[in-house]
Amino acid sequence: MSNESSCETNQLAFTYGALLLRIWLGVRSVQTGIEKFAGSAASDQAVKIDGAVNSYGLTSGGSVKHYALENYHGVPEALMAKFTAEPLMLKVALPLYDKVLGPSLLVLGVAILLGIASRTSLFLLGLLYTSLTWGLILIKQDEGVSWLGVHMILVVMALALSNHNRFTLLKKW
């Protein structure tokens, strides 16, 4: 009796664990994808001096963050230049990767959150993180590599808890 109760308790813990990992990885992926569309616009409100609009073109400082399709950058511009200079980087592959990275993060993130083919979605997210890791190894961003390594551990943990995965739209795959 006591063993059965303990087993049930563990089942619940595993289910919560699987759900938390899905939520964490999904939110992480979706928001990272959304941030690819973020930009900032400087305020263009003219400053007044002696009660009149200044003649120099000074505007009230600060900038406003906003999201727009035209802001999209899959790979940050600063890193793009570094990747371009890398001999192992395929010249044609980089612009393609730049285009698909943001949408891929969004699609995979949503799929993981909603539980659509969770195992395959997690596997693809792992591959995406692996590709990012390879790029960061090329340009010697060791901190980023470690950071992605932590993400990979979470992906693998989520996969290992697949048997306890509940609240899904598509259980298959």
């Binding site: 400087a42 305020s43 263009d44 003219a46 400053v47 007044k48 001096i49 002696d50 009660g51 200044n54 003649s55 120099y56 073109g57 000074l58 505007t59 009230s60 400082g61 600060g62 230049a81 371009t84 200079a85 890398e86 001999p87 980087m89 010249k91």
Partner: protein, 448 residues
């Protein structure tokens, strides 16, 4: 008598530029709106040099209405094709591409202006060619890698009667113009300026050689034709003595220009020191420090400038004008800009209430250290900030001024003659550092 730099007529500049910018604002809003405007009103532009700086200038120009990018010239396919793609995406049709400027000038008809952002040692030959071809020129600073190259640009501008703007973009920056007009000359908040201090400290990581993909290497005969020994030198021309002036002209020229512009007189002398402190194999010094002496109408001023390419310690890049009553530290970056009032100076409350300055909250008073000896340390200065900012890319106002001048609606803020007067002392920093001797300037050093 104190020699002075040729002043610009500020009122004329302001009224004409305001008219030009005002017209631009009316014409300007969405890209589709000005794309439909009369083609005859457009300024037809060629871009010579489509590398990193060329892209910065193009991004700034893409916010200016009424421009048509007709041609792009660059010896590197990678840059040229990249530039063509950017322009095509912006204006909807493809500009003509050239690898040779002579071919471009011989072929292209109807050009009004050329934007030159090639390596420094090509600035003068390219600018002179374009001016002689009857085109208005915006050329990146430093004017040239040699003072004689810079002189040739002034002569060509004056002989051709065409416009030649040099890319000291701070000269058109509203923040800089405001500080000079309203705070230093107008309200005289600094009192007597007695020292100037400027720096550009750049981290060693940001100063490394630029790499390249071997698959994109330019053919050797083309590199040789255009004065480069190999692809490595092409990518890193800034570190070679025959191709550039090194960090003091690459980074320092912007800021020493501000010293000369704000003080309104050329320096009397320079004494510099430099070294190969980290980048042992580079031809140019990686760290340079220079002291300029000035005789201004207010009295003597010493100006210290340092450019470091080995550490970012010490906080970025700025120019600091230190006076008996206040200090203005100005930078293109708002974060590096600050203004302080000396404790003994008259109150600036009226300036704050008029909107000329914004007051920053007072910092907490530090507790005296136990056992500290009473000293003559000054009281903490009150901190202020500029009342406003620049809401555009930093190069845009300078390009707006250039194109407004092309339309006859403004006076250039930094034509080749004014730029030469300000840049001339910079050409003597490296010789002073190499010889470890001060250089007393004569007319021969500083005049066209």
């Amino acid at each position: 008598m104190t020699p002075s730099l040729t002043p610009l007529n500020r009122r004329d500049f302001l009224s004409k530029t305001a008219a030009g910018i005002g017209a631009g604002l009316v014409l300007g809003a969405p890209r589709t709106a000005h794309a439909a405007s009369d083609a005859a009103d457009k300024i037809h532009v060629a871009l010579v040099g489509a590398g990193k700086q060329g892209r910065v200038l193009f991004e700034a120009m893409s916010n200016i209405p009424g421009l048509h990018f007709q041609a792009i010239c660059d010896i590197w396919d990678y840059n040229r094709q990249g530039g063509i793609a950017k322009v095509r995406a912006f204006q909807g049709h493809t500009p003509k591409g050239y690898s040779d400027i002579d071919e471009m000038l011989a072929t292209e008809k109807g050009l009004d202006a050329v934007i030159i952002s090639t390596p420094d040692f090509w600035h003068s030959p390219h600018t002179v060619k374009c001016l002689e071809a009857g085109l208005n020129v915006y050329c990146e600073k430093m004017m040239s890698d040699t003072i004689d190259g810079a002189r040739a640009m002034v002569h060509a501008m004056e002989k051709s009667g065409k416009l030649c703007q040099i890319g000291h973009q701070r000269r058109s920056n509203p923040r800089y113009r405001y500080v000079l007009d309203q705070l230093i000359n107008g309200s005289k908040i600094c009192g007597q300026i007695v020292n100037v201090n400027g720096q550009w400290n750049r981290a060693v990581n940001s100063s490394q050689d630029i790499g390249f993909n071997p698959k994109l290497t330019i053919k050797q005969d083309i590199l040789t034709k255009y004065g480069f020994r190999d692809m490595q030198q092409f990518m890193n021309w800034r570190t070679y003595r025959d191709l550039s002036g090194g960090p003091i002209s690459d980074l320092g020229a912007h800021q020493i220009d501000i010293f000369n512009w704000f003080l309104g007189v050329p320096p009397k002398s320079v004494f510099a020191s430099g070294g190969h402190d980290f980048f042992k194999n580079r031809e140019h010094f990686d760290n340079v420090m220079a002291i300029f002496d000035y005789d201004t109408p207010q009295g003597g001023v010493r100006a210290f400038y340092q450019v470091l390419t080995t550490t970012s310690a010490g906080g970025g890049y700025y120019e600091s004008f230190m006076g008996t009553q206040g200090n203005i530290r100005i930078s293109e970056q708002t974060a590096y800009t600050s203004i302080y009032r000396e404790d003994s100076a008259p109150s600036w409350d009226s300036l704050v209430s008029r909107g000329l300055l914004k007051k920053q909250p007072a910092p907490p008073k530090p507790e005296p250290a136990p056992g500290a000896i009473a000293s003559y340390e000054s009281a903490a200065a009150e901190a202020f900030e500029l009342p406003g900012d620049l809401s555009k890319p930093p190069h845009q106002p300078h390009l707006e001024n250039f194109f407004a001048a092309v339309r006859g609606q403004a006076t250039l803020t930094c034509d080749a003659r004014h730029a030469f007067e300000s840049e001339a002392p910079i050409y003597w920093v490296n010789p002073s550092a190499l010889s470890r001797q001060p250089i007393e300037f004569t007319a021969q050093h500083l005049t066209v």
